[in-house]
């Protein structure tokens, strides 16, 4: 199907089904029940799942295949966001031009950054990319204020030219749309005490994500993808095999920069505002965590990692001590307080602590990330012959 091997086609279909039914899958608990706060099926968060999924898929093409660890990918995300925002200010609130231009602008920017950074490898490459990202961040805050809005960032304003759009009705605010379909519009479906939300923006982002995922599978299985893995494995041999590694790594860098730009453009399409903090180095670090948590060099890993981190960031951080008290109300008073005190550092603002612990556990016990964990569980259920485990990129453990 679509030129994919059976195994990859099955994976793509599985992801498509999961993404299509995500509003159901992520809302397993009825409204008003104690567990309802673990529901992740609201539009804002679902959009973030798929957008950061795209970001991580792209990052994995660079880091997972070539082994070049970029610490500045948030810069491309930010540049993509600004580009999309300007399209919305100047052309139209339709998201298509914004998304297309964000990919192009991020591609050009990553070509420039990659051209310079790829002169070095290893830690020096990482530091060069980090320097570029921090430079972009600082510039966006200071001298580039006319372009970036500085500290206030950019939002679409009623007074923006928007040459392609008809004049706004009096009192209306500009809203991102796809040929009239507003990104923020949702259909709600109540079933008993369950409430499912189907958001237009989420499905637009999800379709883009599926296309991005499909492209990454094609890249992984192409000769180009194999050369990228060869770069990671042994650059010396590649050079002495008559292959010039520079264009390969640069192409991988630009492709992953374009994925980041795409994610940035989608962010603006879903939530029409952008600020420089999007380019801060912690944002670059986050995508590294996502990729490693999910499984470096695997197809689906980055998406899982992005989902896991965004889930924790949005769900775990919302639990406060009051909620804990209601959970453990069945315990005797003294014990209740004790248990709550014990758990409290790991929730709410302390969710980073939980993330850190999980991350350490994954790196130590599952170097192949969540994907390796899944494979281990799958192996427990069906004892396959070891011959099936051909080293084909997906099952190859990451270094």
């Amino acid at each position: 199907m679509f030129g994919l091997e059976k195994k990859d086609a099955r994976l793509l279909i599985l992801v498509a089904v999961l993404v299509a039914f995500a509003p159901f899958i992520l809302n397993p608990f009825p409204e008003g029940s104690g567990l309802a706060q673990f529901n992740a099926g609201y539009p804002d968060l679902m959009q973030r799942f798929v957008i950061f999924g795209i970001f991580a898929i792209g990052f994995n093409i660079l880091f997972g295949l070539t082994g070049y660890l970029s610490f500045g990918h948030a810069a491309f995300l930010g540049v993509g966001s600004y580009a999309a925002m300007w399209m919305m200010k100047l052309l139209t609130m339709n998201v298509i031009p914004g998304i297309v231009v964000s990919v192009i602008v991020a591609g050009v920017f990553s070509l420039a950054v990659g051209w310079i950074s790829l002169r070095r490898s290893g830690i020096y490459f990482s530091i060069l990319t980090l320097a570029f990202a921090q430079m972009s961040y600082s510039l966006a805050y200071s001298v580039l204020t006319p372009l970036t809005g500085g500290e206030t960032g950019l939002q679409p304003k009623i007074t923006d030219p928007r040459i392609l759009d008809a004049a706004l009705a009096p009192g209306a605010t500009p809203k991102a749309n796809l040929f009239g379909l507003e990104m923020g519009s949702s259909v709600e479906l109540g079933m008993g005490s369950w409430l499912f939300t189907f958001n237009a923006g989420y499905y637009v982002a999800a379709i883009v994500m599926l296309v991005a995922f499909y492209m990454s599978i094609r890249i992984f299985r192409s000769p180009f993808g194999m050369m990228l893995r060869a770069v990671k494995s042994n650059q010396q041999r590649l050079n002495y095999t008559g292959l010039n590694t520079k264009p390969y790594t640069l192409a991988a860098f630009v492709i992953s920069g374009m994925y980041a730009g795409l994610a940035g453009g989608l962010m603006v399409a879903m939530d029409t505002q952008v600020g420089a903090e999007r380019m801060f180095w912690t944002a670059s670090g986050e995508v590294v965590l996502m990729t490693i948590l999910g499984g470096v060099g695997t197809l689906i890993g980055p998406v899982l990692g992005a989902g896991a981190i965004k889930y924790m960031e949005n769900i775990l951080s919302k639990i406060n001590s009051d909620i804990l008290h209601t959970w453990f109300a069945f315990l005797p008073d003294g014990l209740e307080d004790f248990v709550v005190t014990l758990i409290y550092p790991f929730i709410g603002k302390g969710w980073h602590l939980t993330l850190g612990l999980i991350f350490m556990a994954v790196v130590i016990f599952l170097p192949g990330g969540l994907v390796e964990g899944g494979q281990k569980i799958a192996k427990l259920f069906k004892r396959k012959s070891p011959v099936d485990d051909s080293p084909d990129g997906k099952t190859t453990p990451a270094e």
């Binding site: 030129g3 091997e5 042994n234 095999t241 292959l243 010039n244 192409a251």
Partner: protein, 254 residues
Amino acid sequence: MGILEVKNVGKRFGGLQALGDVNLSIAENSVHAIIGPNGAGKSTLLNCLVGKLIPDTGSVMFDGQSVLGRKPYEINQMGISRVFQTPEIFGDLSVMENMMIPCFAKRDGSFKPNVFINMLKDREIVERAEHMLEEMNMSDKRHMHAASMSRGDKRRLEIGMCLSQEPRLLLLDEPTAGMARADTNNTIDLLKQIKEERNITIAIIEHDMHVVFSLAERITVLAQGTPLVEDTPDNIKGHPKVREAYLGETQEAA
């Protein structure tokens, strides 16, 4: 006129004259060994041939074209393949993929962004790689992780990868270093077989005299960065200068 002509090559590292004034001519379709004690400049010379180092003086001509100033990948594309002292293969990739990469490089050149081709559907490359694995007697290992093979198998794969590109000159840098005796003998047999079956020139740098005298048709002895003598193996064995500089001690060791 040999296929590889090295003229007046010199290379200096700081205060050390690694290569003095090397003249070397390797005849087409011959097996030429370069031997010499440690520090004689063998590896430096080899690195000058493949573009890793650029000599300070002199010229290196391959088939009438200068290789100086060209990048390693360009020199490879000219028809020179190199086998390293420690097998350099793609350890994270399968044996089959290892073999496919040089096949792609041979057909598609130094860079081709063919992103939308399924590499397993490229019949020409797959067949070529499978054929080469068969020739190397490695078909049964095609799905193995290259890094998990024995040293001898890695060497065999590396040589196969080089041969798949049909090079005109194969450079071997101590191909049996660190190998068990059985693996060494297998490698010798493999190289003999290659020599018989292909139109190929082989230049070999080697410490192990057993390997050198089983394979070489001409031998150049390097000492302190300059060629001492160049002759046939039989004459080299009895050459007084060589005995003095080098062979005396190693023959006892071997």
